[in-house]
């Protein structure tokens, strides 16, 4: 694998991973924006409206036809947050030239199509097409409302909102349904123009082409990008290391299984974060099948079907999610916290520790076999201006000592507890 990074236009960087082991190419073009309630819904809606039509493919049918012609190239709108940086853009994956009849050149054509979608959208009277804005606005609002169908996701989203109320991190990367419905073609168009002029853009490519070829195609496709050279607002995340008294929240819905979600702040370790140690700690506590949460809360005590922890390293928080029998709230909560206490006291067996490290290393090395995971990893790195590879992080992780992992556990503070239960019991 040959990895390179280069600023190819003002505030536009290309990370390129050359390898011929995949059968496809993968291209991500992402606008990195400050997460903020005011703009989040507009940011999230924008790529969906752009996907509806562009200059040479003004409607959905011709857009789909163009992608079918490119051997089923997939170009999708993507929205996600890395800490308090909202990342919106397009992600494309497409067959490698080597495997299509006549070795047709697909890469240049896909990049050109992605460029056109982003820079030359279908317009009406100088604004983004009002029919498309209206149609996508409704659908986007529905998508946000539908988060409730996935109870685990819903519980974590609610926990985030309540725990980080007053912080940008509380805002979901999709935005809010009510804000979405207030977006007009004029407001979205104005916002869109501002992004084109000043937002930082991260481009990622992984496939068999070398960086030069990708850069040349991008230079061509993005030549109309209006880069004024003006300084943009820097993007970043406000990491809070302090917590107050633990807050408890309970909500009810018509469900059979309760969802218990805990939010922690990683605390002082975030002042100079040792990512490898944080990952290893997470694997010991709840991030792997050899973790304390998995083996004790699930396997030994059968308190739940799942219990796991997840780190959001950009924000310095950790979430524990668990599906439990509603009657077992007290027991499950106590056990989840007790397992953290054991980590704090260094009550970690040699085997547990080694297993956790192996799991982190295996996961990071496996990432090298997935274009999508690499794209997401490097986007995270770019947001924080870090430059190590998954392999380097794997090497660092295998060097972590038990003391370093315990230090992370000692720094972690419980902030909020959220419980989603059913209607009857709350009545």
């Amino acid at each position: 694998m040959d990895i390179s990074r280069k600023e190819i236009m003002p505030l536009v960087a290309l990370t390129s991973v050359k390898t011929d082991k995949f059968k496809t190419g993968c291209l991500g073009v992402t606008f990195c924006l400050q997460l903020d309630r005011k703009d989040a819904s507009k940011n999230a809606l924008l790529p969906k409206v752009l996907m509806r039509g562009c200059l040479s493919h003004p409607d959905m049918e011709s857009m789909s036809a163009a992608m079918d012609e490119l051997y089923g190239a997939k170009i999708l709108p993507v929205v996600r947050s890395k800490g308090e940086v909202q990342c919106v853009g397009l992600l494309a994956d497409f067959a490698d030239d080597a495997y299509v009849p006549g070795n047709e050149k697909i890469l240049e054509r896909v990049i050109s199509l992605v460029g056109e979608i982003l820079l030359c959208p279908a317009t009406k009277a100088g604004l983004l097409n009002s029919d498309y804005v209206a149609s996508e606005r409704e659908k986007h609002a529905d998508q946000i409302r539908s988060i409730i169908s996935d109870k685990q996701k819903y519980a974590t989203m609610r926990l985030k909102e309540l725990m980080c109320s007053g912080e940008a991190f509380a805002v979901d990367s999709l935005g809010k349904a009510e804000d979405t419905l207030g977006i007009t073609p004029a407001s979205l168009t104005e916002h869109y123009r501002r992004l084109l002029e000043s937002a930082r853009i991260e481009i990622f490519y992984c496939g068999s082409a070398d960086a030069k070829r990708v850069e040349a195609a991008l230079a061509d496709a993005f030549s109309a990008l209006p880069r004024s050279g003006k300084e943009t607002c820097p993007v970043g995340t406000d990491i809070r290391t302090e917590t107050g008294p633990v807050r408890y929240f309970t909500e009810s819905l018509d469900v059979g299984q309760g969802k218990l979600a805990l939010g922690f702040r990683l605390g002082k370790v975030m002042l100079e974060p040792d990512i490898a140690a944080i990952l290893v700690f997470n694997a010991i506590y709840g991030g792997s099948v050899t973790s304390k949460l998995f083996l004790n809360v699930r396997e030994k005590l059968s308190l739940c079907y799942y219990a796991g922890s997840r780190i959001e390293r950009h924000k310095g928080v950790m979430f524990v999610a668990s599906g439990i029998d509603i009657e077992k709230y007290d027991e499950a909560l106590a056990e989840i916290l007790r397992q953290l206490e054991l980590c704090r006291q260094g009550d970690i067996e040699e085997e547990e520790f080694l297993n956790a490290k192996k799991s982190v290393v295996n996961e990071l090395r496996s990432m090298m076999d997935s274009q999508r995971q690499l794209e997401d990893f490097y986007l995270g790195q770019a947001v924080e201006l870090l430059d190590y590879s998954p392999e380097m992080l794997a090497a660092l992780s295998s060097e972590v000592t038990v003391e370093q992992a315990v230090a992370v556990a000692k720094s972690v503070r419980l902030d909020s507890v959220y419980f989603l239960m059913n209607n009857e019991r709350s009545a």
């Binding site: 390898t19 059968k23 496809t24 049918e61 036809a65 089923g72 998508q143 029998d325 799991s359």
Partner: protein, 427 residues
């Protein structure tokens, strides 16, 4: 050892059969950090009634899935999940209606991991205590699934379509049905279905096929055993058993799935051809590039969750479509009307050609995932066809084949509809 080559994709599969009846597929992949192994039994949720040693047995719903959970317990108190994980692998398992598959991916110690996999799956160890405890964990899993509207909409559709086929019943069973499972049930079903001639081993990675064969010979029993004969009920008529399921759950937007039964062969190349043809036909009728999709999308009747295709399971198959919609009945009516007037006009022929190109791209893409290839190979093996030969099948489709598939199946009198509506608000 037999060698299957796929020249255009630069891929190959090594096949070998052992005297105990096990067939091994090894897919060499260079340049990948990880390797994947899938060890699967031709035994799933649908295999509830079977004959062994001349006697018919009726087992409770959910045994195959229960067995999958319990196989990880090893004699002497060890757990295979922990053992594999400690050895640097990411292990897991799944049970579908027709298959139970145990798998891992690892970036190191592949041979040791393979030994562990083959060992724990072939050597059952259950106690009444461990079975009782698992009833708690699986009970939670069942509750969780029952809160999932996507699961409900699918399961209710199958219940509406079929009168007898076991696809009516959830793979995991119910809290009541799993209460009837004992250690004896598990031992018996393991005996009936986990013999090498009813299993398959698929491996992908930078692996020597001869080593895989040697390890399989070393670990697995050398003799061939009798495999149970299964009963999926009588062949069913095209009319649905009940026709409509309409329930309320915690969702924001109504969700629906509609479908018709298909009469397909149980095994072989013709089964594969029918599956590919139906998927292709549904894509042409209502896929993202179709005029119908564009119309329904613009009218606000569907959003991007809408899709259609086929689902194949033991003893049957169905063509289905669905997604979120404010007016499921209107969508169903539009699909039926479009199907009835499905004709090979010039527009349709153009789309037909384009979708063949897109299908080639999808096929190319599917060769990226080692695990995905192993699972596909396992499913193909059990159903008696070469899963990687689908390109030739699709290339051979004519517009007449496709019209016949649509006109012959999507008749209004055969359609069953399943709807999940929000608990509150719009009815």
């Amino acid at each position: 050892m037999e060698l299957r080559k796929y020249e255009r994709l630069n891929e190959q599969v090594n096949i070998c059969s052992l005297p105990n009846g096990l067939v091994i597929y090894v897919i060499p992949k260079k340049g990948y950090f990880k390797s994947a192994a899938v060890f699967a039994a031709n035994y799933g949720g649908s295999d509830m009634r079977f004959r062994l040693a001349g006697e018919w047995h009726d087992t409770p719903a959910g045994v195959a899935h229960f067995l999958e959970h319990k196989m990880f317990d090893m004699e002497g108190g060890g757990n295979a999940l922990t053992l594999l994980s400690a050895n640097g692998a990411s292990p897991n398992a799944f049970t579908s209606s027709g298959m139970t598959a145990y798998h891992f991916e690892s970036t190191e110690n592949f041979e040791d991991n393979l030994r562990i996999l083959l060992k724990f799956v072939s050597r059952p160890y259950f106690t009444e205590d461990s079975v009782a405890k698992e009833q708690g964990i699986i009970g939670q899993e069942i509750r969780m699934t029952e809160d999932d509207p996507e699961f409900a909409v699918y399961q209710n559709l199958m219940k509406s379509l079929y009168a007898e086929n076991p696809i009516r019943v959830s793979v995991a069973g119910t809290v009541e049905s799993i209460a009837k499972i004992t250690a004896k049930t598990l031992y018996y079903c393991h005996e009936a279905f986990y013999n090498p001639s009813n299993m398959v081993l698929c491996v992908a990675g930078d692996i020597d096929p001869a080593r895989v064969e040697a390890i399989a010979r070393e670990i697995l029993p050398p003799e061939k055993r009798e495999t149970a004969e299964r009963d999926y009920g009588q062949k069913e008529k095209p009319r649905p058993a009940s026709g409509l399921s309409d329930v309320k759950m915690e969702v924001a937007v109504p969700l629906f799935m509609a479908g018709v039964k298909l009469d397909v062969p149980d095994r072989g190349q013709e089964r594969q051809r029918r599956e590919l043809l139906m998927d292709f036909a549904m894509n042409l009728l209502l896929g993202k590039s179709s005029p119908l999709y564009a119309r329904l999308y613009a009218d606000g009747l569907i959003n991007n969750t809408f899709s259609g295709g086929s689902t194949f399971f033991p003893g049957g198959a169905a063509a289905v479509f669905g997604g979120e919609s404010r007016d499921p009945s209107a969508v169903c009516a539009a699909v039926i009307e479009e199907a009835a007037s499905f004709a090979s006009n010039s527009l349709r022929t153009e789309l037909f050609q384009r979708l063949k190109k897109a299908a080639l791209g999808d096929e190319i893409r599917s060769f990226n995932s080692l695990y995905g290839m192993c699972v596909r190979q396992a499913a193909g093996h059990f159903a008696g066809f070469d899963p990687f030969g689908s390109m030739e099948q699709i290339a051979g489709f004519t517009m007449e084949d496709v019209s016949e598939a649509v006109l012959g199946s999507l008749r209004p009198e055969n359609l069953a509809i399943s709807i999940v509506r929000p608990v509150k608000g719009e009815s």
